[in-house]
Symmetry: C2
Subunit: 228 residues, 2 copies
Amino acid sequence: MNGFAPGAIAKPRLALIGGTGALGTGLARHWAAAGYHVIIGSRTVDKAEASARAIAAASGNRTLHGAANASAAQAGDVVLLAVPWASHAQILDEIKPHVAGKIVIDATVPLVPPKVARVQLPAETSAALAAQKRLGDTARVVAAFHNVSASKLQGDAPIDCDVLVFGDAPEDRAAVVALAEAAGLRGIHAGPLANAVAAEALTSVLIGINRHYKIPGAGIRITGLGKE
Amino acid sequence: MNGFAPGAIAKPRLALIGGTGALGTGLARHWAAAGYHVIIGSRTVDKAEASARAIAAASGNRTLHGAANASAAQAGDVVLLAVPWASHAQILDEIKPHVAGKIVIDATVPLVPPKVARVQLPAETSAALAAQKRLGDTARVVAAFHNVSASKLQGDAPIDCDVLVFGDAPEDRAAVVALAEAAGLRGIHAGPLANAVAAEALTSVLIGINRHYKIPGAGIRITGLGKE
């Protein structure tokens, strides 16, 4: 007999840095609905608390709360970064003292306005590698959630998009694949952190496809896995 | 009355440089079967001719012939490059005198063995940008066919993979989208040549997914276009 009930595994507390943005609130509402303890981080505590109250009311999950980014990072077991590229370095510096040993999920895409449909790689090749460099080796950076349409995450309809998960440690990738699935998305092991440039660049491609074909939210699916 | 019958539009002669490889022969058989005049280019004329004979016999298309890479490039209206990254620069130099004003489709992925499941970007960011730089402005470089499984192109079953088409001129992209469709694949306008890094990097991701999930040929689909 296997006495180990999967439901008994503690859910990690999730700190969403930049959590008042479209991607952050979209993910927060799905994780809150799935019973996760979610902390919404923002530069402005008032905005973070207002956002947390709204998601708590919608999801019926009373464990949500808002906090300044650094406090949110401190309170989270897993820290997710969904911030504009222009704020990426500064916010990494703010959370760095609080993420040693933690999984840091970087969902940041290095878009450079106004040409956001054009791939413009940063000096470090990708936001993910820039984050690892900035945080140092103690943080376990995993990159994911680059390609999912933030607007679609606001709704309850099934989302036709896979989540490519990049990270150097297979067990850290697996934890994030599980979080994608808890949010109703299919997570896929997509290789080392160095591969995150593929998904980051793809976001510009998808923005361009949305414009060219006049559609609201292109996404991607990996085929050949036998379960699509 | 519109007296212009689509069937009357001349099909471009297609020169497949590196056409004896898996991707080249796979595309050649589909285009030959669709009635295109295909020239198989190789470093070795004997190999090119043998490959052309085999595809001609299989497809019933007698217009195929084999040639040395430079002669093939000269004979083609559209030139496709499907060569190993290690030969890319040298073969570009060989064909350069023969591709002025022509569409050059670069399907090359800058894989660096042995770690082909790891993205390792070239100095020029992508093979596509390296090709444009090397050929100069007179060649109209379009990047495509990076993600389609070469082994699946050898068969006749429908292939569950989209072809992302990158190029700076929309009309050149459109010509390659049409060629993808002639080969039984869905071609998608994916933005400027600078965006090709997304599809090139994705090939390493797909190789890694094949290994991780023990499947033969992962591919990609763009969702949200309303016709999948």
